[in-house]
Amino acid sequence: MELSQHWRLKQQRYSLVGEICPYCEGKIFPPRDICPDCGNEAKTTFQFNGKGEIYSFTTVRQAPAGHEENAPYTLALVRLEEGPMVAAQLTDLDDQAVEIGMPVEMVTRKLRSEGERGLLIYGYKFRPILKAA
């Protein structure tokens, strides 16, 4: 089991908690403690709003071990509204056509399980925006 490897990432995985650079105000995800833009220390946590748009996408048919039960699944690079890009699965797609530029929102879903007895790992995925009333 890889408990600690997943446990220490829970905040970012469950709810897109990243960082903001106190110097250049760049938003950082995944958190890395050093601003990739200006190189200064950036440890202030920042909650991303989970909205973004699709930069690119593909469907994985031949899944790596641990992901077979979900295959085929659609992966995307999502440009978050605040700037950074994240790689994530798209979910709740059904037969909806995916397009570059399509707006998506973050949801927390099961990423995988470590077998029947192992830990369930949850994290961010994105889906087409479910419009509020």
Binding site: K10, Y14, T108, L120, Y122, A132, A133
Partner: protein, 354 residues
């Protein structure tokens, strides 16, 4: 003065935010009937909501909780309890509630627990939250009823056992979009339906289901609450009863003196099935989505084993502007993808990959 059976907190408590969640997949009852070559004349019509491959009570609770928070517009760090009632907690040991609490930012200064009482685990958590907030111990407490309900393949339950539920953030009445005026719980030992530890599917004893289980408990709970609060069915704009199927809630409503138009808004079973611990609670979100300020709502759950929790709720002016902050129950219902039995089997883990 009569002995006080009614549960009323010291300070008034209300619903500060609410949120529904219903997964997008639908399995029509006719599809279940087709596979089991059932006589469709007497079978339930309608369909049930089915969770996707990457969904479970944890992920569904997180989304419902986020919807509740969006309507409550409060800092999640102020939440002092995250309670999830379900028959389908993903792990037997390892709380659903801790994951939900972490995901919504309610940790670490919070109580967290999973509740179990068949289909009323969610309202049970809500009643406890009333106590938590109403006693002054906490400003806010989150209670959730959510299920990915189990039904043995081919069993009558398979036609209706659905997925969905709702989250309620309770807080001070003055901040609320609906005030919970009183509640009442009615409980007996009645073995109508149960699932032993480590069993995948529940058993219904083919005894008791209607009487003395569902009808007796719901009626007793509703009648005592109305008696104690000096209300009559016609005082309520809406009533929501636990809805294991289309018939039971209609029949219990009628016997209590409620008219069809009082239960229509909250009767979701034809579209999403019986969402077990989520059933009555997601009926209430559908009502809150359409109610006017000042409307009175009677909510009565039922959990096998058996018991009913009854609540009398009155909406406030806050409801109108807050409810637009998150997707409505109907929006989730309309987000619909029909699946066949094979896909359903896959999504529900009934296909063995190993």
């Amino acid at each position: 003065m009569q002995e006080n059976k009614i549960l009323r907190p010291i300070r008034k408590v209300g619903i500060v935010g609410y949120g529904a969640y219903i997964p997008r997949y639908r399995l029509p009852a006719r599809e279940v009937a087709r596979v089991w070559k059932a006589d469709t004349s007497g079978e339930p019509s309608g369909e049930k909501a089915v969770a996707g491959l990457d969904e479970d009570v944890i992920t569904m609770s997180i989304e419902a909780a986020r919807n509740a928070l969006a309507r409550a517009m409060i800092d999640p760090a102020k939440i002092r309890a995250v309670w999830v009632g379900s028959e389908s907690h993903p792990s037997a040991v390892k709380p659903t509630s801790t994951v939900v609490a972490e995901a919504i930012g309610a940790v670490p200064n919070t109580q967290a627990a999973d509740w179990e009482f068949a289909c009323k685990a969610g309202t049970e958590a809500m009643q406890a939250a009333i106590g938590f907030v109403g006693s002054g111990m906490a400003a806010y407490a989150l209670s959730i009823g959510m299920d990915t309900a189990q039904g043995r393949p081919g069993d009558a339950l398979e036609y209706t056992a659905g997925a969905g539920g709702a989250a309620y953030l309770l807080g001070p009445a003055e901040e609320s979009l609906a005030i919970i005026e009183a509640s009442y719980s009615f409980t007996t030992d009645t073995p109508d339906f149960f699932r032993r530890a480590n069993e995948k599917y529940p058993e219904h004893g083919e005894r008791f289901t209607g009487e003395p289980a569902y009808f007796k408990h719901i009626s007793a709970a509703a009648q005592e609450l109305m008696r104690a609060t000096e209300t009559k069915p016609e005082d309520y704009t809406y009533a929501v009863f636990h809805q294991p199927n289309d018939k039971f809630p209609k029949r219990v409503a009628s016997s209590l003196g409620f008219k069809p138009d009082q239960i229509e808004a909250g009767l979701l079973v034809p579209w999403i099935g019986n969402t077990y611990a989520g059933s009555a609670l997601v009926g209430l979100t559908a009502v809150l989505d359409v109610a006017e300020p000042g409307d009175k709502i009677l909510l009565v759950s039922y959990g096998s084993g058996a018991g009913s929790d009854a609540f009398t709720i009155q909406t406030t002016e806050e409801l109108i502007k807050r409810r637009k902050q998150a997707p409505s129950t109907q929006e989730y219902i309309q987000r619909r993808t029909e699946i066949d039995y094979a896909t359903y089997s896959r999504y529900r883990g009934k296909l063995s990959m190993k």
